[in-house]
Amino acid sequence: MNLDTLLSYEWGHMAPEFIILAVAALLSLLDLFLPKSYNRRSLAWIALVGILVAVVSLIGLLDSKSVSILHDTFRLDSFGKAFKLILLIGAACVILLAESYEPKEGLKEYRGEFYYLFLTGLLGAMVMTSSGDLITLFVGLELLSISSYILAGMRKKNPGSNEAAMKYVINGGISTAITLFGMSYLYGLSGTTNLKEMSGAMSAQAANGQFLYLYGLAFFMVLIGLSFKLASAPFHMWAPDVYQGSPTPVTAFLSVVSKTAGFVILLRIILTLFLTMPGDDTQKLSFLETHSIYISCLAGISIIAGNVIALRQRNIKRMFAYSSIAHAGYILVAISALGYFTFDAVWFYLLAYLLMNLGAFAVIQLITDSSHSEDIADFAGLYRRSPLLAAGFAVFILSLAGIPGTAGFIGKLNIFMNALMTDPGHFVLASIMIAGTVISYFYYFGIMTQMFFRPAASTEKIKVPAGIGAVVVLALAGTILFGVAPNTALDFLHNNFGSFNDFLK
C-alpha cells in the first residue's frame, strides 16, 4: 500500500470518528498540561462541543451513499449512520450529566479523565457500528469496554466503585475471551475476517454438516460473549453490581451507550453472517431462523428475571439495572422475531430507551448526589420539593413502564407488533412481554408512590444544575414528542435510511 491509495480513500466518511478522536486527544493533552488547580469542569463543554460537531458532520453525511473504505473494514451504510446518531445523542447527554456530577468525596484531578474516557468509549462504539471486519469490530468493542472499566472505577476512594470496576473487568474479560474464541473459529473456517466475504464463504460451506456444526458453536460463543455486553439473563449478573457501584453518569453510559453498542455489534455479526447461511441440509431456512428459539429464550429469561428481581430492590440504581436487563429482553424479542421492521423496532426502542433512561438517570443523579444515599426512600415527597422535576421523572417512569402517550409505549408496541406479525407469530414471547410489563408496574409505581404520596424527609428545595436541567428537558421533549407523534422519528428514519437495504450489500 502506498501513499496514493491511502489518500484515495474518502476519509471524509470517517469525519465523525476523527472529530471524536481529535477532541479526546485534545482533552487528554489539556488535562496533562493544565495546572492542577485548574477546574477541569470546563473540559466537559469542550467534549460536548466536539460531540455536537460530530453530530453535525454525521448529518452532513446522511445523504451520501453507502461507502466502504480501508478494504471494507469501515462501512458507512445507513445502519451505521442511524445507530451512530443514537450513540452520539446518548453520549452528549451523558457528558452533560458528568459535567454536573459531584460525588461525596469529589472527583478532584480525575475529572479530566472522566470526560475523555467517555469520548474514547463513544469512539469504540462508533467504530463498531461502522465496521465491516471482525478485527475492527473487536478493537471497537475493546476500546469501549476498557474505557468503561476505568470509568466504573473512577471514584478511586469509593469502595463500591472499586469493587464495581473489578467485577466489571473480570466478567468483561471472560466475556471478551468467549467472544474472541467464537470469532477465531469464524475466521478459521472461512479464512477471512471480512464480514461480507465471510458470509459468502459460510453459505458455500454450509452444505457440509461438519462446517455447519462448527459455525453453530461459533455462533453461540459470539452470542453469549455479546450477551454479557447487553446484560441479558443469565449473563446479566454483573450488571446490578456494576451499575450500583459506578458513578451515576457512568451507569447512564453503560445502560444507554454501551447497551446500544452491544445491540449494534450483535446485529452486525449475526445478521451479516447467519441470516444468509442455511440452517440445515434442506437449505430452506437460514441458520438464524432455525435457531431464533435460543435468542427467544434469552429474551424471555431476561424479561422475567429483570422485572421480577427489580421488585425487591431498595437501591434506585440497582433497580434501574434490573429494569435495563428487562429492557434488553424486550429488544431481544424484536431480534428473535426477525421481520420486515425489526430494524425500525430496534432503532426506535433504543432511541426511546435512550431518552427515557437518560432523563431518569439525570433525576436520579441529582437526588442521590444531594442526599448522599441511593435508597428509593430519598424520592419521598419529591413532588413537594420540586413539582416540575417530579412531573418529569414521572413521565420517564411512565414511559419505561410503557404507558401510552410516551415514547416507551410506541417502542413496545412496535416490538409487540413485530413479534406477532412474523410467521409463525411469537405468541409465547409476546405474552411473556406483557406479563413482564405488568410486573414492572409494581416497582415503577412504587417510585411514583414515593414521589407523590409520601411526605418528604427534607423540605429543602432542589437546585437543578444547568447540565441536568438540559438533559431532563431534552429527554422530556423527546419522550412526549415521540409518544404523541411517533411518525416524526419513524419518518426521519425512513427518509434518511430507507429500510436499511444497503446493510448486506
Binding site: 454483573w238 446490578p240 428481581i309 421488585l311 404507558i403 408496541l413 408496574y441 404520596f453 407523534a485
Partner: protein, 622 residues
C-alpha cells in the same frame, strides 16, 4: 361545529396545564379556571349534540404511526353514542368542578385537585372521541392514571394510598385484556378503526371463534374499568378519594368507560352469541352480587359504591341481551342520579363529618335541600315509577325477557328488589329517626354545592322521558338511526314487566321502611305511651322479626357468603400471584451473592446448557 369537536377535550387539558403552572399563585381561585374551562367543554358538547341530531356522523383522521407498511391513524369521530357521552361527561364534570369549590374549601392542595380533575376530564373526553381502538387505549390508560392521582389525593391516609394503587393495578389487569383483544383484532383485520373491524366482522372475514375470543378480551378490559366481578374490588376501596371524585369517577366517567367500550364495540359483540352471553351473565351476576353486599354496608359511600357496581352490572346485562339502547339509556340516567347521590352524600358528610350511617339520623329537617334531593336520587335508582331510573331499568328488564334468558331476568328482578331495599335503608337511617350526638351542629351546604345537586336532581327526574314506552322512544330511534350494525326493532314490552318492576321496588322500599324507619319511630312511642301500645308494637315487632328471620337473614347469609368469596377467592388469587412473583424475586435476588466468580459460573452454565442443547438437537450427532 362537529368538525371542531376536537376542541372539547382540549379545554380541560388547558385548565390542567394552567393550574399546573399557576396553581400555587392562584390558590382557591383555581376553581374558577377549572369551572370556566369545563363550562366551555359543556357548551361545545351541547352544540355538537344539537348538530348531531340533524347531520350524519363526522369522522376525520390522519396517519399517526407507520410500522413497516402498516399505517395507524389518529383522529376523531362524532357519532350518536359519543355525542351523547360528550354531554354526559362534560356536564357531570362541570357540576363536580362547581361542587368541589365548596366541598374542598380550605384544602391545602386545592389547585392540585382542580388540576387533576382537568387531566381526568381531558382523558375521558378524549377516550369518547376516539375513532379507533388504539387511540381509545391511549386515553383509557390516561383515565387510569388520572384516577390513580385522584383516588390517592389524600395520600397521607394509608387506605387512600392503598386504594389508589389497587385501583390502578386492578384496572391494569383488565387493560392487558383489552390490549390483547385489540392486537388480535388488528392482527385479523389489519386495522384499529371501529368501522373496518365491524365491516370485517359482519362480512365474516374473521372466524366465529376469533370474534368470540377478541370480544371476551375486550370485555375483560371493560370489566376492569367498570368494576365487574371479579375485577370489582378496587371500586369500593376507591371511595377513599374525595367525594366529588367519587361522583366523577363512579357515576359518569371512568366506570362508564367500560360500558361505553362494550357499547362502542357492540357490532362486534353482536356477531358472537357466546360473547354476548358472557357479558350478560357477568353483568347479571355482578348486579345481584354487589347489591347483596350493599345490604350490609355501614359506610354511606361504600353503599353507593356497591350500588354503582350493581348498576354497572345492569348495563352490561342490557348490552349482553342485545339491549343496546337499554344499556346506553341506563348509562345516561345512572350518570345523573348516581352523581346526584354521591354529591348529596358528600353534602351529608360535609355536614356531619362522618361516613358511618349508624351515626347519622334525623337529618331530614336539618338538610332542607340535600334531603329531598337525596330522596329523588334514591327514588330514581330504586326504579320508582315516573323517575328516570324506572324507565331505563324497565327497558333492561324487557330486553332480558325478550332475549329469552329468564334466569338472568329474575336475577335482575331480585337485584332490583335489593337495590330498592338498601337504598331506602340508607335513606331512612340517614334522614329519619333520631338525631345522633354527632349530628348536632349540622348546617346545609353552600350554594356552590347545592346548585349542582339541584341540576342533577332535575335531570334525575326528567332524563327518563327521552325514551319511554308511553311518549315515544326518541333516544332509541336516534341512537340506532343510520347505523346498520344495530337494529332497533320496536319490541313489544309486556306491561306486566313494568308492573313487576314497580312492585318489586315498592316491596323493597316497604321492607326498608318497616325495618329501619318504623322501628325507630316505635321506640319513641315506647317511652311515651302505655303498655297497650307496647303490645301493638310488640306484635309489629313480630312482623319485623319475621322479615328479619326469613328474608333479611337469608340475604344476610348470601351477602356474607359473597363477601367471603370477595375476600378469600378473588383477593386470594391476586395475592397468590403476587406472592409467587415476590418469591421468585427473592430467589433471584438471593442468587446475586456479590461473588463475581459465581456470576461467571452461572453464565458459563448458561453457555454450556445452550451448547449441549444445540449439540443434541441440531448438531453433528444426528
Amino acid at each position: 361545529m362537529m368538525e371542531n369537536a376536537w376542541i372539547i377535550p382540549l379545554f380541560p387539558l388547558i385548565s390542567f396545564l394552567l393550574l399546573l403552572l399557576l396553581g400555587k399563585r392562584l390558590k382557591e381561585s383555581s376553581a374558577y379556571i377549572g369551572i370556566a374551562f369545563t363550562l366551555f367543554s359543556l357548551l361545545f358538547s351541547l352544540l355538537v349534540l344539537w348538530e348531531r341530531f340533524t347531520s350524519p356522523t363526522y369522522k376525520i383522521g390522519t396517519e399517526w404511526l407507520k410500522i413497516g407498511d402498516l399505517s395507524i391513524t389518529a383522529g376523531m369521530e362524532v357519532n350518536q353514542l359519543n355525542a351523547l357521552m360528550l354531554v354526559i361527561v362534560s356536564l357531570v364534570s362541570f357540576l363536580v368542578h362547581m361542587y368541589s369549590k365548596g366541598y374542598m374549601q380550605g384544602e391545602e392542595r386545592f389547585s392540585v385537585f382542580y388540576a387533576y380533575l382537568g387531566l381526568f376530564t381531558f382523558a375521558m373526553l378524549g377516550l369518547v372521541l376516539s375513532p379507533n381502538l388504539l387511540q381509545l387505549y391511549v386515553f383509557w390508560e390516561l383515565v387510569g392514571l388520572g384516577s390513580f392521582l385522584l383516588i390517592g389525593f389524600y395520600f397521607y391516609k394509608e387506605e387512600a394510598k392503598q386504594a389508589a394503587k389497587k385501583a390502578f393495578i386492578m384496572t391494569r389487569i383488565g387493560d392487558v385484556g383489552l390490549f390483547i383483544g385489540m392486537i388480535l383484532l388488528f392482527w385479523e383485520t389489519g386495522s384499529f378503526e371501529y368501522d373496518a373491524i365491524f365491516k370485517a366482522a359482519a362480512e365474516g372475514s374473521i372466524s366465529e371463534g376469533m370474534i368470540t375470543l377478541t370480544a371476551i378480551f375486550i370485555f375483560i378490559g371493560a370489566m376492569g374499568k367498570s368494576g365487574q366481578f371479579p375485577l370489582h374490588t378496587w371500586l369500593p376501596d376507591a371511595m377513599e378519594g374525595p367525594t366529588p371524585v367519587s361522583a366523577l369517577i363512579h357515576a359518569a366517567t371512568m366506570v362508564a368507560a367500560g360500558v361505553y367500550l362494550v357499547a362502542a364495540m357492540f357490532p362486534l359483540f353482536s356477531e358472537s352469541s357466546t360473547a354476548l352471553l358472557i357479558v350478560a351473565a357477568t353483568g347479571a351476576f355482578t348486579a345481584i352480587f354487589a347489591a347483596s353486599i350493599g345490604l350490609v354496608q355501614t359506610d354511606i359511600k361504600r353503599v353507593l359504591a356497591y350500588s354503582t357496581v350493581s348498576q354497572l352490572g345492569y348495563m352490561m346485562l342490557a348490552l349482553g341481551t342485545a339491549g343496546y339502547v337499554a344499556g346506553v339509556f341506563h348509562l345516561m340516567t345512572h350518570a345523573f342520579f348516581k352523581a346526584l347521590l354521591f354529591l348529596a352524600a358528600g353534602s351529608v358528610i360535609h355536614a356531619v363529618h362522618t361516613q358511618n350511617i349508624e351515626e347519622m339520623g334525623g337529618l331530614w329537617k336539618k338538610l332542607k335541600i340535600t334531603g329531598p334531593l337525596f330522596l329523588i336520587g334514591t327514588l330514581a335508582i330504586s326504579g320508582v315509577p315516573l323517575f328516570s331510573g324506572f324507565f331505563s331499568k324497565d327497558e333492561i328488564l324487557v330486553s332480558a325477557w325478550n332475549h329469552g334468558n329468564y334466569i338472568l331476568f329474575f336475577l335482575a328482578l331480585i337485584a332490583a328488589f335489593f337495590t330498592a331495599f338498601y337504598m331506602f335503608r340508607l335513606f331512612f337511617l340517614v334522614f329519619t329517626g333520631n338525631q345522633k350526638k354527632e349530628a348536632q351542629n349540622v348546617h346545609e351546604s353552600p350554594a356552590s354545592m347545592t346548585i349542582p345537586m339541584l341540576i342533577l336532581g332535575f335531570l334525575a327526574v326528567v332524563s327518563g322521558y327521552v325514551n319511554t314506552p308511553w311518549f315515544g322512544t326518541f333516544l332509541g330511534d336516534w341512537l340506532t338511526k343510520g347505523n346498520h350494525y344495530l337494529e332497533h326493532g320496536h319490541e313489544d314490552s309486556p306491561v306486566w314487566i313494568m308492573l313487576a318492576a314497580t312492585l318489586v321496588s315498592l316491596a323493597g322500599i316497604t321492607l326498608a321502611y318497616m325495618i329501619y324507619s318504623k322501628r325507630s319511630i316505635s321506640r319513641d312511642w315506647l317511652g311515651g305511651e302505655g303498655s297497650m301500645m307496647y303490645n301493638i308494637l310488640y306484635n309489629k315487632y313480630y312482623a319485623d322479626e319475621f322479615y328479619n328471620l326469613s328474608i333479611v337473614r337469608l340475604t344476610g347469609i348470601i351477602s356474607v357468603f359473597f363477601s367471603y368469596i370477595d375476600r378469600f377467592i378473588v383477593e386470594g388469587l391476586v395475592n397468590g400471584v403476587t406472592g409467587t412473583v415476590q418469591k421468585l424475586g427473592k430467589i433471584g435476588s438471593r442468587m446475586q451473592t456479590g461473588q463475581v466468580q459465581q456470576y461467571g459460573t452461572i453464565a458459563f452454565f448458561g453457555l454450556a446448557v445452550l451448547l449441549i442443547i444445540f449439540a443434541l438437537t441440531g448438531g453433528i450427532f444426528e
